[in-house]
C-alpha cells in the first residue's frame, strides 16, 4: 500500500518526476520547537540578503 504522502503521484504523468515529502518532513514543518529554530535561522538569512541589497 502506498504511503499517504505519495498517493497523488501517478506513473508517467506530469508529477512523476518530482519529489514529495515524507511523514517526518511534514511533521517538522509544523513542529513548533523545530520551527522556532528555523524562524531564527530564516530571519538571519533574510537579513543578510536585505543587507546585501541596500
Amino acid at each position: 500500500m502506498a504511503l499517504k504522502e505519495e498517493r497523488n503521484i501517478r506513473a508517467y504523468t506530469q508529477n512523476f518526476g518530482t519529489m514529495t515529502p515524507g511523514a517526518f518532513q511534514k511533521k517538522l514543518r509544523t513542529c513548533v520547537i523545530f520551527q522556532f529554530i528555523r524562524f531564527i535561522v530564516i530571519n538571519i538569512k533574510m537579513l543578510i540578503v536585505v543587507g546585501k541589497s541596500h
Binding site: 509544523t30 520551527q35 538569512k45 533574510m46 540578503v49 541589497s53 541596500h54
Partner: protein, 489 residues
Amino acid sequence: MAKLVILGGGVSGHTTATFAAKWLGSEHEVIVVTPNSQWNWIPSNIWVGVGQMKKEEVTFDLAPVYKKAGITFIQAKATEIHPEGSDTIEKAFVTVESTSSGSEGEVTTVEYDYLVNATGPKLNFGATEGLGKGSELGEHTVSVCTAGHAVHANDKLKEAIEKMKSGVRQKILVGTGHGLCTCQGAAFEYIFNVEHELNKAGVRDMADIKWISNESFLGDFGMGGLHMKSMGFAVSSKIFAESLFTERGIPWIVGAHVNKVEEGKVHYELLDGEMGEEEFDFAMLIPPFTGVDLKAIAKDGSDISDTMFAPNKFMKVDAKYGVTDYNQWKASDWPSTYQSSAYKNIFAPGIAFAPPHPISKPMKSPNGTVITPAPPRTGMPAGIIGKAVAHSVCDLITKGEDAELHKISMADMGAACVASTGKGIFDGTAAAMTVYPVIPDFDKYPGTGRDTNHTFGEIGLAGHWIKHILHHMFIYKAKLKPGWTLIPE
C-alpha cells in the same frame, strides 16, 4: 525652494515620498499625486481573498499620514507630463485629473523641479477577451490585485464553498490570464490558500483545483526559475513548485496564453501551438500589466510619448534596451539609477520603469504567439529602488545638479518572499524564499546565475510567523510610526 512631485503612492512612490520629505525637511516641497485615497499592503490581499483578513486590515488612509509627514497630497491621476513646460507655463508640469469625491474629473496642473513616476502598473484586463475591459475586471473571473478585488474574490469563493457543501462539485482555476503576465507568485500563493480553505471547510474532495500559467515550467516565477540550496543540493524551483502542487493534488497547465474567457470557460494556446479549453466554476486569473495611460507632451504641444516611454507604456530609464537575443543578455542591461533617458530631472522607480527585456527566456508558439512571463519588479525591489531614487533626488536638490546619483540594480539586489498557505499561527505552512540576485548574473555565478549561499527556500510554520511579522511591520513603517526608518525595505 525645490518642488518634488511623485506620481503614485504605492510601495515605491510612498517610499520615495516619505524618505524625501524626511531628508528635505520643510525647505522644499514634496507632493504626492495618486488616484487612490488609501495605501494597500498588497501581499496581504491574498488573505483578504480567502476571508482571513478584512480590507481594513490591509489598507489605511494616506491623507493623515502625509499631513504628519509634511507632504502635500493630491488625490488625482496624472494624464500628461510636460517636461519642457508649455506655451503658457514656463516650468515643467504634469496635468492631473481629480479622483477625489466632489471634484472628480477636474483637471489641474502641478509644476515640478523633479518628477518621480512611480505610477506602477495598469491592470490590463482588456488584453484578454472576456477577462475585462481596459483596467476593469470582467464578470467571469476574480482577481486579488487590489484590496477591493480581493473582497470580491472571497465573496465568490464562499459561494463556491457553499455549493460544495450542498453537494455540487466545483472546478477551480487559478493562474495567469495572458501570455505576458507577471506576478505568478501572487497566484501561486492564492491557489494554496484556496486549497487550505477548502480543507478547513471540509469540502476539498468536492473541488477539482487546477493551475494555469504562462511560465514555460512550473516555478519559473517570471525570473527564469531559480536554484535554491536545500538538503545540501542546489534544487531547482521547478522541483520545489512541482512538489508543492503534487503534495496537494493540484495538476497544472504551463506555457499557456489565455486568449479568451467566457462564462465558465477559458480558451488557451500552449507553447507547442496546441489550443485548449478549461472549464471552471471559480477562477482567479492575474491580468497582464502595462504602464498607466500617461502621455508626454513637448513644449510645442507635440506628443513625445514614444521618446519617454517604451511600447508597453513603462518609462525608459538608464537600461540597455534593444538586446533581443537571450544569449546576449547581461545583468548589466538592467538600470541602476532609474533616471529617465530623456530628462535628467525625471525618475521611474518600481514597476513604472521599462525593463530592458524579460528575465525568463522569451518563447513563442509555432503560431507566433509570444508566451513569456514579464519580469517581476514588485515588493522588496520596488521599495529599495524607491529609497535609492529618494537619495538621488535629495542630493540633486541639496548638492546641485552634478551630484552623483545613487545606484542600485536588480542584478545586485536580492528579494525575500513568503508565500503562505493559510494564516494560522499553528496550522498551515508557508514557503519562505530568498533569491540573490533577482536578475541572474551568469558571468558572476556561472551555472545557476545566482548565489546559492543566499538563495534558499523552506516550507514550514516559521514562514507563517515571518509573513505575519512582515504584514504588521510594513504597515507600521508605511504609517510612519516611531522608528519607521529603521525598518528595511
